[in-house]
């Protein structure tokens, strides 16, 4: 691949997905895109770049973006966010939304579905507490291909062994030959939609909890800031944001502040500052005037 071709791919990825690639990421591009070229019957990345630039190249450029933005994922990744979910977010919102009995959760980089399904499993495990509640989980990702996988909920033996306790595997999955499919009742708890974080968030609607983990790292500073502000705007004042273990809002925005002693968990600044001690009756019916 020539420097000119690498630059072309960089520009393509930046405009279509916001993905920022530094100079030394050429190996990553090659390892991810050679299979794309091969599937399209092309012999090299140079041929791939040429084919994308033809009028018929749209589908191919979509495949390039998908291949570069798909992340590895596993069930209950990093564990602590799911502890926060069970121990902080849900108890707090179950008390704050006691009137409306509705909680909305958005996984903004759902990838192959392990994160939203881990949340759905967590909700199943607290079934008694959420009985009579409507808890909606929305999983979005840039890639159609990966969303199809998420929707089917079919995982390899390797995938179900990373992060998923064996009791949960037996309880919530059915074996299909060498593969494991998550049960229909869990699948039905998650709605899927293709969505680009660079686009307007208008269609996403209000979300009480936003998981946006390990995706901001791919964007440049300004794009990170824009996305965090868009998230802040679709959140009620007592909503929760979860970032990846290696991510932070520090130096990006003042809209959010960390929840004390809860790594990776954030709330809007005003909410965290005025947080009352007991159950919050005032929040019933909407603290979401915008």
């Amino acid at each position: 691949m020539t420097p000119f071709e690498y630059d072309f791919l960089r520009r393509l990825l930046k405009t279509q997905s916001g993905l920022v690639l530094s100079d030394e990421k050429q190996y990553l591009v090659e390892s991810r895109l050679l299979p794309v070229a091969r599937r399209a019957g092309l012999g090299s990345l140079s041929e791939l770049v040429a084919a994308i630039q033809k009028p018929s190249g749209k589908q191919l450029s979509d495949s390039v973006v998908e291949a570069m933005t798909t992340n590895e994922s596993f069930f209950f990744r990093d564990k602590t966010p799911f502890d926060h979910f069970r121990e902080v977010m849900m108890p707090d919102l179950l008390s704050a939304r006691a009137g409306r009995r509705r909680i909305k959760i958005w996984c903004a980089a759902a990838s192959s579905g392990q994160e939203p399904y881990s949340l759905a499993i967590s909700l199943k495990e607290m079934a008694a507490k959420v009985a009579g509640w409507s808890v909606e989980i929305l999983g979005t990702d840039l890639s159609n291909e990966i969303l199809d996988k998420a929707r089917n909920g079919i995982y390899s033996q390797f995938e179900v062994q990373r992060g998923l306790p064996i009791q949960m595997l037996v309880k919530f999955f059915a074996q299909k030959g060498e593969l494991w499919q998550i049960n229909p009742d869990i699948r039905a708890m998650v709605k899927w939609r293709k969505f680009n974080l660079l686009d307007s968030f208008a269609g996403i609607g209000e979300q009480d909890i936003v998981f946006c983990r390990n995706v901001l790292i791919y964007f440049d500073q300004q794009t990170k800031i824009d996305i965090l502000h868009k998230i802040a705007r679709l959140m009620p004042s007592d909503g929760y944001l979860v970032l990846g273990a290696a991510e932070t809002v520090v130096g990006l925005t003042d809209a959010f502040q960390p929840v004390q002693g809860r790594r990776g968990l954030y709330q809007l600044k005003a909410a965290a500052a005025t947080k009352p001690v007991g159950p919050r009756l005032a929040a019933v019916g909407g603290s979401n005037a915008r």
């Binding site: 062994q161 990373r162 992060g163 064996i166 595997l169 037996v170 074996q175």
Partner: protein, 121 residues
């Protein structure tokens, strides 16, 4: 340093498991079947046991059932590691007192994830 007993009749699997677990800072002992493993446990009860199912002399399930009845045999955390990968086998293992279950083939990531799951690392 935590002590892990690796029980498998395949010397290759024992070697692979030993390498992975030593990287995770475990002190390793090996046994080739359930009977040897039981003797090793009576001599010194390990913190963890990585346990194959199908072995000559005494298989993994019989070993586990016997171990759990021994004095101090409730202590070790037992992780099955076997090609038996159907729900029926998994359920039997859990009932017999297994703490976790690895379906072969396995790699370092899986061992690490499962050992984390049961609080060994």
């Amino acid at each position: 340093m935590k002590h892990c007993l690796v029980v498998d009749d395949s010397s290759v699997i024992r070697k692979v498991a030993r390498r992975i677990l030593e990287d995770l800072d475990f002190d390793i002992a090996e046994a080739e079947d359930g009977k040897q493993a039981l003797e090793a446990c009576r001599d010194q009860m390990p913190d963890a046991i990585l346990l194959d199912w199908n072995m000559p002399v005494m298989d993994g399930l019989e070993f586990l059932t016997t171990l759990r009845r021994e004095t101090g045999g409730d202590k070790p955390i037992v992780v099955f590691c076997t090609t038996e990968n159907d729900v029926a086998h998994i359920t039997r293992a859990i009932r017999a007192g297994a703490n976790e279950y690895i379906m072969k083939p396995f790699d370092k990531e899986i061992v690490e994830a499962k050992f984390q799951e049961v609080g060994l690392i």
